[in-house]
């Protein structure tokens, strides 16, 4: 009987112990989940930021691209064009100009600008073999004129005027020819003839002449038209150049040219000013609450309100800043308004951190100072504050890193701007998180990539701020 009970108890014990171990490993797995999420986030952002180097190299070589679409048979066929002509660039010297369509990179057809950047990143040498079709159809076909066929009534396209230096003339086309097909694509309009060239050229595995069917004096001819031009464009690939360009250029409609200059300057101004406002106010309030305040209802109320203000959503502060500072006080939505509002947001955090720092200073320090006749302020100024300062600064920097990453509040204060200048105290402004938000909202290829690059810049700044806080804590903190 007793042996049986013991046996059951042992089995129970094993079960209870297993349960305990199992529970322990489940709790541990949550840490692994957090780690996995962090790694996934960082790796994903690094991967997305990788094309930056190729994008910058392309734009420096004069290849500022857009992905466009040809609507055809209810299908959308993408192709890549040059949207920005940069004189004196490598591309301009090779004869490429604005609106030219890029068809091949080496032996590959390209349909999207991202493919061009991938090709640049993979390039074995620093020369980009590129094949393009001029964006100006008159350089190929001269002037095409749609006409009604007098017999059948069908629409057809006639070469009306063809200059001798055009590609078509050199290939054997003459004015008066009716262009019927490009490869196997029927030609139905002047613009469409050019689009047919693009589509036909994209289908080819290599740049080369395209066959054009024409009708001349009632007879059909086939002509080989070398519409696609080729060149080797020198590309300077350097991460350092790319990062420098990215950090020093202004926002742009082309992701290859857009940079963070105004946003970084705006962020630094904003955080600096916020520090300037928040440090005296926060430390003053903390000193009052820790060193001066009597325990009465007012002190209790102030403490309760500070704790509550720390939990108010940032958009609410945005509304307050907008209504009081920007509108009622007519300060407009400028940098200084933004930093004053940001001060309100981080002030509760600064106060709480500063109070904790003040609390770590033992009373014996204060008593020693009082004993030699110091007044309360003298005690605070020359004894308590110097010892508490590292702790206060650490708390301030942590709060400022919150301000650095804050976007919602500043959107209300008008930091949602397209800037092509460096902001100053009284000007409209933008900051890095808002620049990221704007770029995420852009549909064009490449903006997601530079948003990722901007995220890396933001995280680097935050990391540096936190490293500074840790350094201050290690270097100056003392135990009592």
């Amino acid at each position: 009987m007793s042996a049986q009970t013991l046996h059951i108890e042992r089995r129970q014990l094993v079960w209870r112990k297993t349960k305990s171990t199992f529970f322990g490993s489940i709790t541990f797995s949550t840490i692994l989940i957090s780690l996995a999420l962090l790694v996934a986030l960082i790796v994903y952002i690094l991967i997305n930021a990788r094309p930056l180097m190729a994008m910058r190299a392309a734009s420096r070589a004069g290849l500022v691209l857009s992905t466009m679409v040809i609507q055809w048979d209810a299908k959308n066929l993408p192709y890549v064009i040059i949207t920005d002509f940069i004189p004196e660039s490598a591309a301009a010297r090779a004869g490429i100009s604005e609106f030219d369509a890029i068809i091949h990179i080496g032996p590959e057809s390209v349909y999207r600008s991202a493919q061009v950047w991938e090709a640049i990143a993979r390039l074995p040498s620093d020369a980009l073999p590129i094949g393009w079709i001029s964006g100006d159809p008159s350089k190929i076909f001269g002037d095409l004129l749609p006409q009604m066929d007098p017999q059948t009534g069908a629409l057809r396209v006639v070469i009306d005027y063809l200059p001798e230096e055009s590609l078509g003339f050199q290939a054997g086309l003459r004015p008066g020819d009716i262009v019927t097909h490009i490869e196997d694509i029927p030609v139905t309009g002047a613009r469409q003839a050019w689009e047919a060239l693009i589509v036909a050229a994209q289908r080819r595995a290599q740049p080369g002449p395209l066959t054009v069917q024409i009708e001349r004096d009632g007879e059909l001819f086939t002509i080989a038209l070398p519409a696609e031009q080729t060149a080797q464009i020198p590309i300077q690939r350097s991460w350092w150049r790319a990062i420098w360009d990215f950090l020093t250029s202004y926002d742009s409609n082309s992701p290859e040219k857009a940079g963070l200059a105004s946003a970084i300057v705006g962020s630094l101004y904003l955080v600096g000013l916020t520090a300037l406002f928040a440090l005296p106010l926060g430390v003053g309030a903390a000193i009052y609450l820790e060193e001066y305040a009597r325990r009465n209802w007012l002190t209790e109320l102030i403490q309760l309100l500070i704790a509550n203000l720390a939990g108010v959503p940032s958009v609410i502060y945005g509304i307050i800043g907008l209504e009081i500072l920007a509108r009622a006080l007519k300060m407009d939505r400028v940098l200084i308004t933004g930093s004053l509002t940001m001060t309100l947001l981080i002030l509760p955090m600064v106060i709480i951190a500063a109070r904790e720092a003040l609390r770590t200073i033992p009373d014996s320090i204060r008593h020693a100072a009082y004993a030699v006749g110091a007044t309360r302020w003298q005690v605070v100024r020359s004894h308590v504050l110097p010892y508490a300062l590292p702790g206060i600064l650490t708390g301030l920097i942590i709060s400022l890193s919150r301000a650095m990453g804050e976007a919602a509040l500043l959107i209300l204060l008008g930091a949602f701007q397209y800037l092509t200048f460096l902001p100053t105290l009284g000007s409209y402004f933008t900051v890095v998180p808002i620049q990221i938000f704007t770029w995420i909202g852009e549909a064009k290829d490449g903006f997601a990539n530079i948003a990722a690059a901007a995220i890396i810049v933001l995280l680097t700044i935050l990391l540096a701020m936190n490293a500074l806080a840790i350094f201050l804590r290690m270097k100056f903190q003392r135990r009592w």
Binding site: A40, G284, A285, S314, G318, L459
Partner: protein, 308 residues
């Protein structure tokens, strides 16, 4: 410390010293009193701003209407229920993610982890806490949504589900650090008492430590909820900024905070009636978060287990 009136002339305070002390005390008090001023201004702004709004729209229409179309010129409609439900759905998903993971992490860190593991694990959570919310928004829109699409093909580019999940990830550190503080504060003697009765570690945590820390954990949950309700950027980026009724997890939706961002980034002129909506919405948001913050403050005070 009271200064005694010195009998020797050398110890007399310099003239004006008392005045200077009072002045400094006054300045310091003003810094602290700023909290009262800011709160008062906030309440005043929201009361007066909502006054304009509710002069035109009835409270019943605002809280009960299911069509939110303030920009509709011909038939504007101000039913905030889609926004309120949107906020609740996003918050609900976020809490489903953040509460279990955050609480279990807290239990691991305070009960199971060795000092060495703690030194690695805590920074992971702190880094997660320090990542700006626009970054989480980017992650939700471009990484989590495509990932979800492989399981749920119907999911739209902007949707509530991925925004909610990522918002949950963003508040895991808040839940875990607040809960860890209270779990850690449960005195050792309670655990040792349980072990002495033969309880396993799981039983100790389940029946002794967690009940003792319950009020603090509840307060942490409420703060996380308040934070999720007030969160703006993740939702603005990943959930689509379109008020929908009835709300659907796989479709875009709009929350209270996002409406405020929409008005601010829109092209409405100052003084247009749409600006009044952000005061009504803001007042609602402010009231909800304030209530939750006070509730958590009260729970901690009321139900705190006092030891010793």
């Amino acid at each position: 410390m009271k200064k005694s009136t010195a009998s020797q002339p050398a110890l007399h305070a310099p003239p004006g010293r008392y005045l200077k002390e009072r002045l400094i005390q006054g300045v310091l008090f003003a810094c602290a009193f700023l909290a009262v001023v800011v709160t008062a201004i906030t309440i005043w702004i929201f009361l007066s701003g909502s006054g304009i709004f509710f002069a035109k729209v009835s409270l019943w229409e605002f809280l009960g209407g299911t069509r939110w179309a303030p920009t509709d010129i011909s038939t504007p409609s101000y039913g905030a229920l889609p926004l309120i439900m949107g906020t609740l759905i996003i918050t609900g998903i976020a809490l489903l993610v953040a509460l279990p993971i955050g609480l279990l992490s807290a239990i691991y860190l305070s009960e199971f982890a060795s000092e060495r593991v703690r030194k690695i694990a805590k920074p992971i959570l702190e880094i997660l806490a320090g990542i700006p919310t626009v970054v989480y928004g980017y992650f939700a829109l471009l990484f989590v949504t495509p990932l979800l699409r492989s399981v749920l093909p119907d999911i739209q580019f902007w949707n509530a589900l991925s925004a909610g999940i990522v918002l949950g990830i963003a508040i895991i550190p808040l839940v875990s650090s607040l809960s860890e503080d209270v779990i850690y504060a449960v005195p050792r003697s309670l655990r040792e008492g349980a072990y002495a009765l033969g309880a396993t570690q799981y039983e100790t945590i389940r029946h002794v430590v967690l009940p003792a820390a319950l009020s603090g954990i509840a307060a942490a949950f409420i703060l996380a909820m308040s934070r999720a309700i007030g969160e703006t950027m993740i939702v603005a980026i990943a959930a689509g900024r379109v008020p929908t009724w009835p709300p659907d997890l796989l479709k875009p939706l709009e929350t209270l905070t996002v409406h405020i961002v929409n008005v601010a980034t829109g092209d409405a002129e100052a003084g247009a009636f749409i600006w009044a909506t952000i005061f009504a919405i803001g007042a609602l948001l402010f009231a909800i978060t304030l209530l939750l913050n006070i509730l958590s403050y009260w729970i901690v005070r009321r139900f705190r287990e006092q030891y010793e």
